[in-house]
Symmetry: C2
Subunit: 398 residues, 2 copies
Amino acid sequence: MVIGQSGGPTAVINQSLIGAVKEAMKHDQITGIYGMKHGILGILNEDFIDLKQEDDATLEAIAKTPASALGTCRHKPDAKDCETVFKVFEKYNVKYWFYIGGNDTAETANIVNNIARKNNYELRVFHISKTIDNDLRETDHCPGYGSAAKYVAMTFMGNDLDNRALPGVKLDIVMGRHAGWLTAAAALGKQAEDDGPHLIYLPEYPKDLSEVIKEVDEVYAKYGRCLVAVSEGAIGKDGKLWAEEAITEKDAHGNVQLSGTGALGDSLVEYMKNNTTHKDARFRSDTLGYAQRSFPEVVSEVDAKEARMVGEEAVKYAMKGDIDGSVAIKRIGEGKNYAVEPDLVKLASVAKETKHMPKEFINKQGNGVTEKFIEYALPLVGKLPEKGKFKEVPLVKK
Amino acid sequence: MVIGQSGGPTAVINQSLIGAVKEAMKHDQITGIYGMKHGILGILNEDFIDLKQEDDATLEAIAKTPASALGTCRHKPDAKDCETVFKVFEKYNVKYWFYIGGNDTAETANIVNNIARKNNYELRVFHISKTIDNDLRETDHCPGYGSAAKYVAMTFMGNDLDNRALPGVKLDIVMGRHAGWLTAAAALGKQAEDDGPHLIYLPEYPKDLSEVIKEVDEVYAKYGRCLVAVSEGAIGKDGKLWAEEAITEKDAHGNVQLSGTGALGDSLVEYMKNNTTHKDARFRSDTLGYAQRSFPEVVSEVDAKEARMVGEEAVKYAMKGDIDGSVAIKRIGEGKNYAVEPDLVKLASVAKETKHMPKEFINKQGNGVTEKFIEYALPLVGKLPEKGKFKEVPLVKK
């Protein structure tokens, strides 16, 4: 068998890797466990490591370590690459392929799967879901999301306390190119009515900046401060990214490069300073960085457990005789009875397309989330810190 | 007594506040404990809260909560403000003033102290050190630094794993206007020779960008990747901030506004892309945000304990008959025998000036830290996560 990781890292993607590897070690019919170095590049370059040589202590240490231990890549394979992948599999007698990643990864897996079929080569292909973006179809949620959501929620808790201490307008830019799931998680740490984030802007609800500054000004008038969560994929009513003017670089998948730059936050601050009615207000922005996907130890326990589970289940499906598919998560209990079970779905149904936040998760004004979203997301994140707060009995003035 | 918090928040500044308040509650001669809302503004506006009304559970919850629970401000009081502070103290019969903050805070405390003396008013004035920047004189280190250093070290650990998984040149911009203490903490999570950050640039060692890009290119040639820690206060040999061209806004203290903007990182990435010899390399930057000073629960236990201690000791000094001063920390044991004791130093000796990193903490090339720095800083941060790593036995190519 061959296993690899693709796309952006997460805090728990190694749980899936180790779950699959340790499950595979139990089955005699898997004679070799080959790790692809840097995703698809590892196959194209025949750059594999022998995972059977690794001891259990190492495997368990890696499971707890964030980011992709095998390495990953952003290379989008073309038709020729996919043919090469198939040829390498033939050469190395690879019968099982497990590929951990997002929708681009599922697409690649699907293409290679179809080539193998056409050639009557018996290949078992399994995609194992991961993405902090939570934007894969067919699955209730994606391993990696819960931990990233926890990091985002905690960052906003801290930023809200900071903003309360030193009032002003603070914009925090959150990852999520096409879907607002991770930005919406900013709301999960709210414990009091006046806690921030006070406004949340998501790609699913287009809004013009002229409307946004009015909403910011209203919150500022009410609380003397305003904490705003902005998705890097936020768009205007014309469908254009708020970031589009400022940032031009595109990655290999043809997407505008949004992460690793502060340009969106900086230009929003500029716009707001020029258009606010609160000319004395302090405007600042932070762009949450790669720490969203790789900060150590700020991990959701539920997420870590589920990431491990989908890795193990992928191998179990293969051993039971399933031919191909993507391992998804099905929610079978809500709230305090939260529970999940694995689910095998078609590769093609996960490939390419993005799962957006449904309307019922976004408030009517398009600047916040609903209680339904909180109920959906909180079990994935687990317990968040409690904030202490003074009663604030004022001293009588003399 | 009056107590307040000033300047930027930290993750443990409330430990100092609660330490002082709970100690004060033990002493009958302190008849009222008044909290200043938003630092000096709380005095100027006579906006106090009655801290004797708060119960112990609330106080302990606040101690564990990041950011300044009383509120803080960036207002730099002028001579007239300081006179007003003194008059308000007279009016409310304030005999003890405890003010938690950095060197600007110590300066304000010192000015008001001198006015009180001139007027033969018996005021006891104590400054309680805090700053994530660790740049106060007289003290071995500052409460707040250990926790911020831990957050920075962990962010770099995650970013290094991320950069290893998806190689490229990654620049992370760290807070620290005049001193490199916090940026230097990026090195604390290094566990292997090839772990990042591979380069660290500090305000204490001026360097031109033409030299920096050469060093980055060298590291990239060696490891196929490069993680760089850059202080927001990094300067060229002409003494000009790397950030100066890009950022113009100044805060009330006359300082260029460096935090809350991604401009420095973005312009460095631009410069490097244009000047690297590795034209195919991927360049990215993150600007670490306010989370450095207010992320919940990523706290150094040593730092939390010491922050509490300096708060308590300030009140003890006042009760023992000391008249004024700044509560500093004296290190009395190194390494495994790390231990500290409180120390009362002169207000004037802490005011205004910055403590820079000494030469022995910076390597000869001016692009990293020495073992001596690690020995100094690691006890303040405590245990960091262990990274798991494959042995990586390569599969023989067919």
